[in-house]
Every structure is written in structure tokens, then in C-alpha cells.
Amino acid sequence: MTVVLAASGGNVVVWAVWVVAGFACLASGVAVVSFANPFYSALALIGNLGSLAVLYLLLSAEFVAAAQVLVYAGAVMVMFLFVIAYVGPQQETPWKGGPSWQTLGAVLAAGAIFVEIIVVLGLKAGGRLSHTEHVNATFGSPGWIGRLFLTDHLLAFEITSIVLLVAAVGGVILGEHTKRERDDLAGQR
């Protein structure tokens, strides 16, 4: 009896956490898209990433949640905020005044994507998705992820490192190219 009560109490707590994190996730997602100032958008995206990390924890993906906070909310967002501070405030119009045909088409396309996903979910939800496997305590732990990465998914691991290397080279080339052009311009003067 106490076990059942404890289990249902834990269930209520999980539901409450899910509702709060899910609502924060959706609200901050809308905020990112609708803020006029990129700085506020970036701050809202940090909230979005944090609440997503909570959802990952609820899905027993501990290592991915930690990596999300470290890589996204830490490194990537700091880089974003640096660039936003470097570029400075931009004069830009948030939403066009009247819905032009482009905006209307974009809203229709995004809505169509959402409806498609929901319809597919509704069709599949009665089948495999309603059944969730039981998992061990090691599911999603760092050691388990590391073992998977170095045994079953070694190729994905190596390709990821190549992708990161290529992106770093691309970033360096983008920065260096403009500097050289500026020197050329200065030399011509």
C-alpha cells in the first residue's frame, strides 16, 4: 500500500515537473521567435534549453541533459551573446505590419508541418508508442553512453569529430578572409 502510494506520489511530482518544464519550453520558444531584440531572444533560448534539459532528465537521459546544459546553454549561447554584443543593436522590424503573402505562406507552411506531425502521432499513438519499455538504472548514464559511442556507434563518433573540425576550419576561414580583404582595401588607398 505504501509502495503504491509512494509510486503515485512520485507520479504526481513527475507530472507537475513535466507541466512546468513543458510550458516553459513552449513559452520560451514562442518568445525566441517573437522578440524584436536578438539579445532577448538569446536569453529566452537559454530558458528553452534549460527546460528541455529537465525534460531530458524526465526521459532518463542524464548524460544528454548534462551535455545540453554544458554545450548549448554554456558554450553556444555565450558565443551567441558575444556576437550579439559585438554586432550591436540592430534596427529591424520584428513582424511586418500587415501579413504579406510571404508571411502568410510561412505561417501556413509551419502550421502544416505541426499538423502533419500531430496527425502522424495520432495515427501511431495507439500502436507502438503507447507501450514504453522498462529500462535499467544505467540507461542514459555517462558510462553507458561512452560504451555505446566506442563500440556500436564508433563511426558516428569519428564523423562527429570530422564535422567539428571542418566547422572550426570554416569559422577560421570566414574570419581570416574578411581581414585580408580589408588589408587589401587599405593597401589600395
Binding site: 559585438y86 540592430q90 506531425i117 555505446l148 574578411t178
Partner: protein, 107 residues
């Protein structure tokens, strides 16, 4: 003990959140014209896909989805690196921060 069951809402609810995130991110990519906000919306789309991957990984009790989510995070970091490089290059050339006006990529 056979292992822990999923407590709280079912996987479908997580995938619903993922679908909404993907849709709102796609809307931001299509509607907004500031390249910085386009990049931020792109991050939302990638995170929606990540949430769906992790939810399905939990549903199937299989680790491949979490591995894929980590790979997506690496790809997102690469994309931010190159995208922010482009934004800084635009700023240095004093071009307008408007993706509608950047219709050609020739230097």
C-alpha cells in the same frame, strides 16, 4: 525488479512538445529577417528534433536515439560556429542585417 517504468506523461506528450518546437522554429526561420534570430530559431528546430529522438529512445529502450541526439548537438555547434562567422563577416563589411537583402553569396 525488471527496471523502471516511465513515470508521468507518456512519450506521445513529449513528442507533441517536440512537434510544437519544430513548428515554431520553422516559423521563425521563415518569417524573421535578422540572421541572428534565424540562427536562434534554427536551434529551436534542432532541439525539437532532439527531444523527439530522446523520447523515442526512451520509448524503445534503445540508446541509438541518445547517440543521435549527441551527434545533432555537435552538428548544431558547428552550424552556430559557421553561422556566427558569417554574421561577423557581414558586420565587418557593413552589410545590412537582413536575410532578404543578402540574395547573393559572392564576395
Amino acid at each position: 525488479m525488471q527496471g523502471a517504468a516511465l513515470m508521468g506523461p507518456g512519450v506521445v506528450w513529449y513528442v507533441g512538445i517536440a512537434a510544437f518546437l519544430f513548428g515554431i522554429g520553422a516559423l521563425g526561420v521563415l518569417v524573421r529577417r535578422n540572421p541572428l534570430i534565424v540562427l536562434l530559431s534554427l536551434e529551436i528546430m534542432l532541439n525539437g528534433a532532439n527531444l523527439a529522438l530522446i523520447a523515442f529512445a526512451r520509448s524503445a529502450g534503445n540508446g541509438a536515439g541518445q547517440i543521435f541526439a549527441l551527434a545533432v548537438m555537435a552538428v548544431a555547434a558547428s552550424e552556430v560556429c559557421v553561422g556566427l562567422g558569417l554574421v561577423v563577416a557581414l558586420h565587418r563589411r557593413r552589410l545590412a542585417m537582413d536575410v532578404d537583402q543578402l540574395s547573393e553569396l559572392r564576395g
